[in-house]
């Protein structure tokens, strides 16, 4: 076996299963279907210092596998799945993780067991989903990465400016951020104005987060608002089968309130066909401002082309995993949790074609696509210089690698958070 083709990996100690990277690739090249028994060796280890995907073996293999599935080449499928299984590990480096989680999704796709697999994964996750764990997870993530706080800061800034001078504010929060966006807003309300307005917060949760968690969060929010001296009212709407079921009544929207609708990662959970209707429903509430934050990935337009969808999913997930790897400390439980959550999402996107449960559908679209939809009912609001400055200052507080891609003057709107120059999160504001 000629291994001079590849640069020898460095010998850093690594306690997990360390495949010899070289072998499988050569194996494939030589179209030798006999599996090599070159695994579980710890002498040559993958260098975890190398950036993810440098070896790129995972993406190649995975792509091959996806193509095979699409082509329904069962022999190849089995072979590749086997190989991936040998090489993958959820505790290894980026490549190994990607291989591991995508393997799971591809397997489900190949065996058409996506739905069952997803349900199992989800129920396992829910068991360990306590308030403490969720809080710790979210707060830690926000501490090390601006992935979520970017959207929070931009949206809060836009909301505060749009509702400035109003006395009765009503924010409809359709998100799964567990209200981590609101403490800073409350603080701003308490300190910014001489007259602190009354804030009513209605949270609509769509994902299957356990209700006790939200109850605890509600209590904390109320206490915190009291501490801040902000008159506050909290409402929770859960168990809604789909967003289309929202009405003015069940949101308890009063006429004298100034409404803001805040959608963080929420629109992607709406069924594609229903999205226009939902947007028009928002319009009917006559909000002063609608803030939308979504991740920059397109899983919708390629729904019928598995390989394309797969490619996009792989691309985005690779970015996400790389970001996680570089943001968190090496042995981080929180990162593991987030990766697992992502893996559930991958299974859902790739292997579940049918209706799972409304709240769990995820068809992401890019900012430009959302812009097209939102333009039907709303017109874009540019973020003010102050808000942009705030966002920039926010990014400065994190490690390098993050940047702000400013809003385009033309048909596109909103700002992008970029990780190593790749846009990953899109934030925008709209008014009727």
């Amino acid at each position: 076996m000629d291994i001079s083709f590849f640069s020898p990996p460095e010998t850093t100690t690594f306690f997990h299963k360390n495949p010899q990277k070289n072998d499988p690739y050569l194996d494939m090249q030589s179209t030798n279907n006999q599996p090599q028994s070159s695994h579980t060796s710890t002498s040559i280890s993958s260098d975890s210092g190398e950036p993810c995907g440098d070896g790129k073996w995972a993406s190649r293999l995975l792509r091959e596998c996806a193509t095979a599935i699409s082509d329904k080449d069962s022999t190849k499928i089995r072979h590749l799945l086997w190989m991936l299984n040998e090489l993958a590990s959820p505790y290894g480096d980026c490549d190994q993780k990607l291989a591991s989680y995508f393997l799971q999704a591809l397997f489900c796709k190949a065996t058409e067991s996506g739905q069952r697999c997803y349900k199992t994964l989800a129920s396992v996750a829910e068991k360990s989903h306590s308030f403490d764990a969720a809080r710790k997870l979210i707060l830690k993530f926000q501490e090390v990465s601006p992935w979520t706080t970017f959207g929070h800061v931009a949206s809060n800034g836009a909301i505060l400016e749009a509702l400035d001078g109003e006395n009765k504010l009503h924010i409809v929060d359709i998100s799964n951020t567990l209200c981590t966006q609101w403490p800073t807003l409350l603080e701003a309300l308490a300190t910014r104005n001489d007259e602190t307005p009354h804030l009513k917060l209605t949270v609509v949760i769509t994902a299957s987060i356990a209700k006790p968690v939200m109850k605890e969060i509600a209590q904390r929010m109320e206490k915190f608002a009291r501490l801040m001296g902000v008159p506050f009212e909290f409402n929770l709407i859960s168990g809604l089968s789909h967003l289309g079921g929202l009405t003015k009544q069940n949101l308890n929207i009063q006429d004298d309130e100034a409404i803001a609708i805040n959608c963080i990662g929420a629109l992607r959970r709406v069924q594609v066909e229903e999205r226009t209707a939902v947007i028009h429903m928002f319009q009917s509430f006559q909000p002063r401002i609608v803030t939308v934050v979504e991740e920059e990935a397109d899983f919708t337009s390629s729904k019928n082309d598995f390989v394309k969808c797969f490619e996009e999913c792989l691309r985005f997930t690779t970015l996400y995993f790389e970001m996680l790897e570089e943001s968190f400390p090496p042995t981080s439980n929180e990162r593991l949790m987030l990766e697992r959550e992502c893996s559930r999402s991958i299974v859902r996107v790739l292997a579940c074609d049918d209706e799972i449960g409304e709240g769990d559908r995820e068809c992401r679209e890019r900012g430009s696509q959302w812009t097209e939809r939102l333009r039907e009912a709303f017109s874009p609001v540019s973020y003010s210089d102050d808000v942009v400055d705030d966002v920039k200052a926010l990014l400065k507080r994190y490690r390098t690698g993050w940047s702000l891609q400013p809003q385009q003057a033309d048909h596109e709107s909103g700002i992008y958070l970029a990780w190593k120059e790749e846009p990953v999160v899109w934030a925008s504001a709209w008014k009727p």
Partner: protein, 470 residues
């Protein structure tokens, strides 16, 4: 608003006299001007003009009147013209030109031209100055400069012990922190002010800057850095006294960052307590008055100032927030009064008092330890924590942190004149200096009857009556 007429470089055209009810306070709170003062109303343009004082000889403009006067001397004016205009210099107060502002009314005028300028900018002006690090915006350049110096260097500490370098992550953490749940339990027990205050005391040395107007935001003022300048012990010390009181109140009494004022206000407190024990009351109370065993007598400055000799001090006492608390019977539980309240409210189950007193003692102990002789303070700190509400140690608690200052006040007042009290700074060096003398004395009297006063009680009064008193 009256347009200002500048002639010969002096401000003219007062609107009229302000006629508020006569004020008892000696030192004016901002916005409550001296009724005899002349009220000036300037237009926004004039207010912001930089060279308002014009020399009538050469027309040169100056930012300040003093500068103009200095300049005028150079013109060799005849003696008559050297004088200011006919009327004697009256105190001038200024109103804010913004109609909707509280300070627009003459009765709430501000006494300082610079002050009204800054106020106008801050409240009604455009915020032109921006911090690079955190994007905070300021209307007044000096505010911005002051902020830039400390931005990013401050740390925020949550009740649970976690320290944050970023304010936003601190706020978010705070909202979900478990410590919050306990905090608000106390809030419902006491009053809403308590929450802010009890959090406040963590943030010692909080700047008394422009952000103080929002009393709840003040709870997010970061804790002070460890770079102790000579001024810091004062501020830290005074925040023990006043920090828990809600910075909004201190703002009223302090004004704009005027450490000097704070100092003056505090000193009498220190001195007073010293007086209470050393001069008349000290002689009269244990020996003749046989006071009831409610120590508020001694601590309640507001109630019994007459027993003290200096009149001036009593006036200042009533202006102290401390006295208010004492009068109210400690309903507003504030860091310092809670120290006092442990004595006479020991029977009251004031959870905050218990918590704050201990915590404050520890804090004071550690602060005192850095500046004074550790053995002196440490011994008291330890003793006091053990037996907070014991008979013999009743004095210990309040003295845990402030023992040094008060005790030294006592010491010096016994040995020296009252005037030394006024000079007594809370500088560690002086404290330490006086400490040396007392080192030998504190431990006389044994466990119960601590002669922490260190003044040689025996020389003044019979020990047994001291015991009875205690």
């Amino acid at each position: 608003m009256t347009e200002e007429v500048i002639s010969s470089g002096f401000i003219q055209t007062p609107i009229g006299e302000a006629n508020p009810p006569p004020l008892k306070k000696k030192r004016n709170l901002p916005g409550t001007p001296d009724p005899e003062a002349e009220v000036i109303a300037l237009s926004p343009k004039t207010l912001m003009a930089t060279n308002r004082f014009l020399c009538e000889i050469c027309g040169k403009g100056f930012q300040r009147d003093q500068n103009l006067q200095l300049h005028r001397r150079g013109h060799n004016l005849p003696w008559k013209l050297k004088q200011r205009t006919s009327k004697e210099v009256r105190k001038r107060v200024y109103v804010c030109p913004e109609k909707s502002c509280v300070h627009h009314h003459p009765s709430r005028a501000l006494g300082d031209l610079t002050g009204i300028k800054k106020h106008f900018c801050r409240k009604h002006g455009e915020k032109k100055w921006k911090c690079e690090k955190c994007s905070k915006r300021y209307a007044v350049q000096s505010d911005w400069k002051a902020h830039s110096k400390t931005c990013g260097t401050r740390e925020y500490k949550c009740d649970c012990g976690t320290i944050f370098s970023r304010r936003d992550s601190f706020i978010t953490h705070r909202a979900f922190c478990d410590a919050l749940a306990e905090e608000t339990a106390r809030v419902t027990a006491a009053s809403n002010v308590v929450a802010a205050n009890s959090i406040n005391y963590h943030f010692v040395g909080a700047s008394l800057g422009p952000g103080m107007g929002q009393h709840f935001a003040s709870m997010f003022k970061p804790i002070s850095t460890n770079n102790e300048t000579p001024a810091n012990p004062i501020r830290q010390g005074l925040s023990l006294w006043m920090g828990g009181h809600g910075l909004s109140q201190t703002q009223e009494s302090i004004g704009n960052n005027n450490l000097q004022e704070i100092h003056h206000q505090l000193n009498p407190a220190v001195s007073t307590s010293g007086l209470v024990f050393t001069t008349d009351p000290f002689v009269s109370v244990p020996c003749s008055n046989s006071p009831p065993i409610n120590y508020p007598l001694n601590w309640d400055f507001g109630n019994k100032p007459s027993s003290n000799s200096s009149e001036e001090l009593t006036n200042n006492i009533s202006s102290l927030p401390l006295s208010n608390v004492a009068k109210d019977g400690g309903s507003q539980v504030i860091s310092v009064p809670s120290l006092f309240s442990t004595q006479h409210q020991s029977h009251q189950t004031h959870s905050t008092a218990n918590m704050s007193a201990t915590a404050l003692l520890q804090k004071a102990a550690q602060m005192g330890a850095t500046t004074t002789d550790p053995s002196f303070l440490g011994s008291f700190g330890l003793k006091c924590n053990d037996s907070q509400i014991q008979d013999g140690n009743r004095y210990c608690s309040p003295y845990g942190g402030t023992a040094t200052s008060v005790a030294t006040a006592l010491q010096s007042s016994v040995t020296d004149h009252l005037s030394t009290l006024n000079e007594l700074q809370m500088y560690p060096s002086k404290r330490r200096h006086i400490q040396v003398d007392q080192d030998s004395t504190p431990t006389t009297g044994g466990g119960q009857t601590r002669d922490f006063l260190g003044v040689g009680i025996q020389s003044i009064c019979h020990p047994s009556s001291i015991n009875g008193w205690i």
